[in-house]
């Protein structure tokens, strides 16, 4: 459990600005590095309590990971940023959202900058998806979060 250095935090905030137009992402929250490039967000108070305890496994919420310099948002990370996401976002229908949560690729027209977009369905955000050259978006949904196939 290590708090992001000022430089690491600045990098994350800048990338989120570039990728999704988010200003001052995760302001007011502690950002903590966990394994495999993952970043967790927690309240300051939760972090302080964690520092007083033993056998701590995790603090706060997994919000993003850095993949080859790009930020990939988790479902909760994107929900937390919500309407601050103004760039590289796709609107899904209910049916497409179900497919997204099965990690099935979604065909979307439109031009996207960069490798990742964030999906939303009404008020609900569904995390990042990777854009391929054929115009399909591949949802980055963890296996345990997926709706099981029939």
């Amino acid at each position: 459990m290590r708090v992001l250095t000022s430089a690491e935090r600045k990098y994350l905030v800048r990338r989120l600005m570039d990728q999704h137009g988010v200003e001052d992402a995760f302001e007011g929250l502690m950002l903590i590095r966990s394994g495999q490039g993952r970043i967790r967000a927690a309240t300051k108070e939760a972090y302080e309590v964690a520092c007083r305890l033993r056998k701590v496994q995790q603090v706060g919420l997994y919000v993003a990971k850095i993949v080859k310099g790009d930020v990939v948002l988790s479902i909760e990370g994107s929900q937390l940023l919500g309407s601050a996401i103004t760039r590289n976002a796709v609107e899904l229908s209910e049916e497409e959202a179900e497919e997204w949560m099965k990690a099935a690729p979604i065909q979307k027209s439109g031009k996207f900058e960069g490798k990742y977009v964030v999906a939303r369905c009404g008020d609900f955000y569904l995390g990042s998806g990777r854009v391929s050259r054929d115009g399909k978006i591949y949802p980055q949904v963890a296996k345990w979060r997926r709706i099981p196939e029939e």
Binding site: A42, T43, A46, R52, L61, E76, E98, F124
Partner: protein
């Protein structure tokens, strides 16, 4: 439909319990539990999520004793729904929501859930904290902590800490740290046999006695983790005296500043805790705890005690 068969040992044990109707208990064991869930108000408004569910064919009825709790009917399997996967709802038995209501978490409090996995009650505590204060969710098993972590993630809890520790030793490093502690203790599960008849098949008095020893150590550690004036809720989903009244009685004997408090739960049928059993006279305070039989609400059976740590 097949009928549940209890071992002679279990039948004889249950028939010695005061205030029990064995025929009704067997009937409750054979009925499926109601499909219940909580709306996750950390992610969206209650009305918005209910509207989504109704538009997808679910009929929902509020659970009177649990804020944000509902019983669902119609629609597809909730466990495979988009709402569940997105963490907009949390599937949980209706009576299982009662212990956290008795704990009554308030924003700003520091709360320990000592035996937290898989996280139903932890997510409920987090929801009632409304993002203010801290939830510490602990479990002793690495495998179960993984499930706990997944559920807290799906629920979107920012103000939480997960620890992997033996609950019996928690007070060695967290003495008087918490405003409230929940011990939803590992138990012989006689209140939820309808989930799996195997629970009744594998039941033995030997297991109950071993669990009772563990529960006594957990309740003492939990009490010692409380700040003066703090609240401890002890609950199990079982019916045995050894895992319920005798555990709380042990705490009252061991800590003179422990007092049992009255419990009020709107719309839930229950009975007072037992104070006399098998020629044994227990502390009268135990009548303030509650026993919920599976046939009281045609749902899970539970035991719940609310204990205050008196200051000074």
């Amino acid at each position: 439909m097949s009928k549940i068969v209890l071992s002679e040992d279990l039948k004889s044990y249950l028939s010695r319990l005061p205030d029990i109707e064995l025929d009704l208990l067997l009937e409750a064991y054979e009925r499926p539990l109601p499909e219940a869930f909580r709306i996750n108000t950390l992610k969206a408004s209650e009305e918005k999520i209910l509207e989504r569910l109704r538009s997808r064919g679910y009929a929902v009825e509020p659970i009177p004793w649990a804020r944000h709790g509902y019983v669902a009917s119609g629609g597809e399997d909730l466990g495979k729904s988009l709402e569940h996967m997105l963490g907009l709802i949390y599937i949980q038995g209706p009576v299982s929501m009662a212990p956290v209501e008795v704990l009554d978490p308030r924003p700003g409090e520091i709360i320990l859930d000592l035996c937290a996995a898989p996280g139903s009650k932890s997510t409920q505590i987090a929801q009632l904290l409304r993002g203010e204060g801290v939830l510490v969710a602990n479990d002793v098993s690495f495998e179960r902590v993984k499930a706990l972590s997944s559920n807290l993630q799906r629920f979107g809890v920012l103000n939480c800490v997960i620890t992997l520790a033996d609950g019996r030793k928690y007070s060695s490093f967290a003495r008087e740290l918490f405003d409230k502690v929940l011990v939803d203790a590992p138990c012989s599960s006689l209140g939820i046999v309808s989930k799996s008849w195997g629970i009744a098949r594998s039941w033995s008095i030997g297991i109950v006695k071993r669990l009772s020893e563990l529960q006594k150590k957990l309740i003492l550690a939990a009490f010692d983790c409380l700040k003066p004036g703090g609240i401890l809720v002890y609950s199990t989903c079982t019916l045995t005296i050894e895992e319920n009244e005798l555990v709380v009685n042990w705490l009252l004997e061991s800590r003179e500043n422990a007092r049992v408090e009255e419990i009020k739960l709107n719309g839930l049928r229950y009975r007072p805790g037992i104070t006399e059993y098998d020629g044994m006279r227990l502390d009268d305070e135990l009548s303030k705890a509650i026993r919920i039989m599976p046939y009281d609400n045609w749902a899970e059976g539970f035991y719940i005690a609310r204990i205050v740590k008196e200051a000074g």
